[in-house]
């Protein structure tokens, strides 16, 4: 997994399903690894493979026409469990950007902590992307984090997206939260000393 994110032009894989929960992204029985690696193999495991471990032909990740480093999904993506394994699986599979009209909070944090960019777009723009890819699976999407913009390259249709400035800087520069928190040690210790009721 890359440790920074700035700019990407890529085709995308569309999954037009709403409320995709983290149990679908990575089922619980695959959470037993004790490292962060290798989860991509089981990304969307039960949608990708049947009970005999044969690829299901009707699932989009098994369709060679659709590929790319961008995943586009229906609203409320990543709801359910807090398992960071969901973000690890998406990153390990090779996705760098996930686009939806709505993300679950914990998933969004987990993705950002793994240098995967979750982009929230309007319902209308999400529809536009789905339709563009349906018409032409080779449709390219351009993500520019510095400008905070997402563009459908062929049509030039563009939307700007929100990201908080701190997380943006983390992604562009490859910082992580622990580096910042460790730098606050003095403040943390004086907070502890100031609390009359520190349980």
């Amino acid at each position: 997994m890359s440790k920074t994110f700035q700019h990407l032009v890529s085709t995308a894989v569309p999954i037009a399903i709403e409320n995709i929960d983290t149990d679908q992204i990575i089922p619980a029985r695959f959470l037993k690894a004790t490292t962060r690696d290798g989860f991509g193999e089981n990304l969307f495991r039960d949608w990708r493979f049947d009970t005999n471990n044969e690829p299901k032909q009707d699932f989009i990740l098994n369709n060679p026409i659709y590929k790319g480093e961008v995943l586009v999904a229906g609203k409320n993506f990543g709801c359910g469990s807090s398992r960071e394994h969901a973000a690890w699986a998406i990153g390990d599979y090779g996705f760098k950007v996930v686009i939806s009209s709505f993300f679950a909070d914990i998933f969004k944090n987990n993705a950002l902590n793994n240098f995967i960019l979750p982009i929230t777009v309007t319902d209308e723009f999400l529809d536009k992307i789905f339709r563009a890819i349906e018409a032409d699976p080779a449709t390219q999407l351009e993500t520019d984090l510095e400008k905070q913009s997402l563009k459908i390259v062929a049509t030039g249709e563009e939307i700007s997206f929100d990201i908080n400035p701190y997380k943006k800087a983390c992604l562009i520069n490859g910082y992580d939260d622990i580096d910042y928190l460790l730098s606050l040690r003095k403040e943390i210790e004086s907070y502890e000393a100031s609390r009359e009721f520190n349980f």
Binding site: D23, A28, T35, L181, I188
Partner: protein, 465 residues
């Protein structure tokens, strides 16, 4: 202007707040378990740093553990390895572990409250989305990812943006046969599985106030199922009575000091919420889910929405969901045959849940072709149930009281519902494959689950109480 309870607690835990940065928030209690912690300990090792405040983290093993023969080694190699790694990591870093065989072992969100570790006014996190359970005590409690577990281990702080505030008021009184699980399933069915995303919820109103602590925990537990960051309830006499005398609760002069502080923990009359929702308890009937997210719930006597009642945009997901469940749009669930009954999980495995089920099934027998699993939330719940003779009532009804763990809530350990089977479950998620590959879940209250165990089908429990 006054402050909400959430803001009072948050403000008193902000260590550093800089413009453009998320707040660095101090964490009073950090719970860890075997699934979401190994990579965090690994991170500390790579950075060459210790756990900053070892006494503020407590560990238990729950997700992977078997719920029978816990004295034997865990059969499944990967599960065993994860549990062993928790033992090794907690030993190496000096963190207290209530592992398998320990009298305090159990589901992380059951043991925290019952040991008196969870207290009002605290900030509590755990690498598990159902950490929201602890909000029942008037604490800010929420689930985090593994990178954040590492942050807390390393610094006892977490970086967070302040969520928006939502108040959900449930007024009036519940009808007979309707319990707290029905309240929360009802709310989620009304506002959807994403209806509270971005918010921290405070539950209020007469129907919430009159609930026991166990029942309040059930409500707060499922806050995440409507997307909320967490949910809390202002502490009151019910809260204080529950905490007093528990193992790690403050004692003597500390208790008096704590109590004086806890009594300040309420939302001021003139505080403002971003959103206020109001419900009437009298409108709630026993609830059951029919689909594959917790928002897809109905009163047990209602019918599944017909296709014409579903928004065009939601149709593909709705159809996919019902196909998975093997159910027809517009049909009724009442009378539908059930294969498994699971009573357990961090939502409904506390002593009060088991008492409720025991009271109901006393003198009754389970339906012949139903498998019933009753899984206590902790060793202490298990011991209490035995002391009260609840295990004997279950045995006479043909139920089996197993040993504590997450069990069939998440299909990670040995307890899985077989493919295609229907399970009425007191757990919190009905996602595809949640209870095992291709297993089909109906979420319901412990009472409704017990009723189905007796009749072998989806039943309106009000007809039996």
């Amino acid at each position: 202007m006054g402050k909400t309870l959430f803001d009072k607690i948050w403000d008193s835990h902000v260590v550093v707040s800089k413009p453009g940065f998320p707040d660095a928030v101090y964490i009073n209690t950090h719970f860890i378990h075997e699934v979401t912690s190994p990579q965090a300990f690994d991170g500390l090792r790579k950075r060459g740093i210790p756990v900053f405040r070892t006494a503020k983290t407590r560990a238990t093993a729950d997700h992977n553990v078997p719920t029978i023969d816990q004295h034997l080694p865990i059969k499944e190699a990967l599960s065993r390895k994860q549990v062993e790694m928790l033992t090794a990591n907690t030993k190496e870093f000096g963190v207290e572990l209530y592992g398998l065989g320990h009298p305090y072992q159990g589901i992380v969100h059951v043991i925290g409250p019952e040991l008196g570790i969870t207290l009002p006014g605290m900030t509590i996190v755990c690498g598990d989305s159902h950490t929201s359970t602890h909000g029942a005590f008037g604490a800010i409690a929420f689930g985090i990812g593994t990178s954040e577990v590492e942050q807390v281990l390393a610094t006892q702080c977490i970086l967070q943006y302040r969520p928006k505030r939502m108040k959900i008021e449930v007024n009036g009184q519940l009808k007979k046969g309707v319990v707290s699980k029905d309240i929360i399933l009802y709310i989620i069915s009304k506002i959807s599985a994403s209806g509270a995303t971005g918010y921290f919820v405070e539950y209020a109103g007469e129907a919430i106030r009159s609930l026991s602590m166990e029942a309040r925990m059930t409500i707060c537990n499922m806050s995440i199922e409507m997307g909320a960051r967490g949910g809390l309830i202002a502490p009151d006499q019910t809260t204080f009575d529950y905490i007093k005398g528990r193992e790690f609760a403050p004692k003597g002069a500390d208790w008096d000091k704590a109590l004086a502080y806890w009594e300040t923990l309420y939302t001021d009359a003139d505080a403002e919420f971003d959103v206020v929702l109001t419900f009437d308890a009298a409108d709630i009937e026993p609830m059951i889910t029919y689909g594959t997210n917790p928002g897809m719930g109905i009163g047990v006597t209602q019918h599944i929405p017909a296709l014409t009642e579903v928004d065009d945009k939601e149709k593909p997901s709705f159809k996919k969901s019902l196909e998975y469940m093997g159910l027809e749009p517009g049909s009724e669930l009442l009378g539908k045959k059930v294969d498994y009954v699971f009573i357990g999980s961090c939502t409904n495995s506390r002593i009060e849940d088991l008492r409720m089920v025991a009271d109901f099934v006393k003198g009754k027998k389970k339906a012949e072709d139903v498998v019933v699993w009753i899984v206590p939330g902790s060793k202490q719940v298990e011991a209490q149930a035995k002391e009260e003779g609840i295990d004997k009532i279950f045995e006479a009804a043909g139920f089996h009281l197993r040993q504590p763990g997450c069990s069939a809530c998440l299909g990670m350990n040995e307890d899985k519902v077989p493919a295609g089977m229907y399970c009425i479950s007191t757990s919190n998620r009905n996602f595809e494959g949640r209870q095992g590959p291709n297993a089909r879940t109906f979420l319901a209250s412990p009472l409704s689950a017990a009723a189905a165990a007796i009749t072998g089908k989806v039943t309106d429990v009000r007809e039996l109480v």
